[in-house]
């Protein structure tokens, strides 16, 4: 299988580490890092900067009883939270968003399907299923869009994206991704604003399908 060639930019990893990335993008970054040793090392480097800043930050005394209270809490049994392990093509952050269940696909026509994982405000994260050889309708973005390939591959005006690769789209990217031959292409896609389709019909369908 091919190595990952499209990574998360360093500044975006810094934003992720510091908790500055909106939730939909944080999900894609977490999923990519789960698959990518290179970005995982980047994550570690930024955490090291955070750690260095923590070590040199001002000491502010905590209340006197706090430590005693805390030491007494160490034996409290914890309500164990479910752990969602990676399954098949889905890394654990995606399995967690799916709550361990298989995706519930909704058909968008032409064999294209989607499964919305979360939707908050204008932003959303979804899984998109594109049959081999099929194009995703021409669209542009009013905000940022991150697309992580989980199965198969797609190509567009900017290049080819295989498993683990991330495409970063913004206002300036108007593209027509086409799934390559072979396995159907399954992607994790996040936006902080609704997508805008260039052709007339899909725009009408947009509110219906919540693309």
């Amino acid at each position: 299988m091919n190595a990952i060639t499209h990574h998360i930019p360093d500044t975006m990893i810094a934003a992720y580490v510091s908790g500055n990335l909106p939730h939909p993008f944080a999900m894609v970054v977490a999923a990519h890092i789960s698959l990518c040793a290179e970005c995982s090392a980047s994550l570690g480097a930024h955490q090291a900067v955070g750690g260095a800043l923590l070590e040199r930050s001002d000491n502010v005394a905590v209340s006197s009883g706090m430590k005693t209270d805390l030491m007494a809490m160490l034996d409290t049994p914890i309500r164990s939270e479910p752990i969602f392990d990676a399954k098949g093509i889905f890394p654990s952050p995606v399995m967690e968003a799916l709550k361990g269940k298989p995706p519930r696909w909704k058909t968008l026509g032409m064999g294209v399907k989607q499964s919305i994982l979360t939707e908050v405000g204008g932003g959303s994260v979804r899984l998109i299923y594109i049959p081999a050889g099929q194009a995703v309708p021409d669209h542009s973005h009013s905000g940022l869009e991150l697309t992580l390939v989980l199965q198969g591959s797609f190509s567009d005006e900017t290049g080819r994206f295989g498993v683990g690769d991330v495409e970063i789209g913004d206002e300036n990217l108007e593209h027509t991704p086409i799934a390559d031959a072979g396995d159907a292409c399954i992607c994790l896609a996040a936006t902080d604003a609704p997508l805008q389709f260039s052709s007339f019909l899909p725009r009408l369908l947009q509110p219906i399908f919540r693309i």
């Binding site: 995982s40 923590l54 930050s57 502010v60």
Partner: protein, 185 residues
């Protein structure tokens, strides 16, 4: 030049004791070292004293409970605790669950590699020195970025910090864990 003493950083030693032996004395030391720093760190971006303490308590409890996930081949204690603190702060303030990457748990049977752990410590020391040498405005910008006071669009970190060498060290640590995974891909 005098030979620099080569020892694993004290907080990392304490955290490994907590991880392996559930050592309360070591945890107490970790608390004394990190709780006031965490409180200071959290209060820098306007979190009030009471809420900062609530988060510090939560973070330290998480440190105790999740210690099994700590791997000194990949991170110093302070880096690991920093990430827990930022995640807990966001979970508590924004009431959302932060997506976190898959954790590659260490094979309990694998022997610790002292030279790798030391190398991670050395890189962290380089990083600290480099941060100290930054111009005040750069230092301020970095503080803001890692405290979460800048939006992701505002972050453009070109600080000249030696992140490349840190990364390559961490990559070596990861390789220990990733071997199996790489084989599968």
């Amino acid at each position: 030049m005098p030979q620099k003493k080569q020892e694993t950083s004290q907080p990392t030693v304490w955290l490994v004791l907590v991880r392996d032996l559930r050592d309360r004395a070591a945890f107490s030391e970790l608390f004394d070292y990190f709780a006031p720093r965490l409180k200071g760190f959290l209060m820098r971006n306007g979190t009030g004293s009471a809420q900062a303490e609530e988060i510090v308590q939560d973070v330290m409890l998480t440190v105790w409970r999740k210690a099994s996930m700590f791997d000194p081949h990949r991170a110093q204690a302070s880096a690991w605790i920093y990430q827990i603190a930022r995640n807990r702060q966001i979970d508590i303030i924004r009431k959302e669950n932060r997506p976190v990457p898959e954790e590659l748990a260490q094979d309990p049977g694998s022997e610790p590699d002292a030279s790798q752990i030391l190398a991670i410590d050395q890189e962290a020391e380089h990083l600290k020195t480099a941060i100290e040498q930054l111009q005040p405005d750069q230092k301020d910008m970095i503080q803001k970025a890692y405290l979460g006071d800048l939006t992701h669009k505002e972050i453009s970190i070109q600080t000249g910090l030696p992140l490349g060498t840190v990364k390559s060290r961490i990559r070596l640590g990861l390789r220990r864990l990733r071997k199996e995974l790489e084989g599968l891909r």
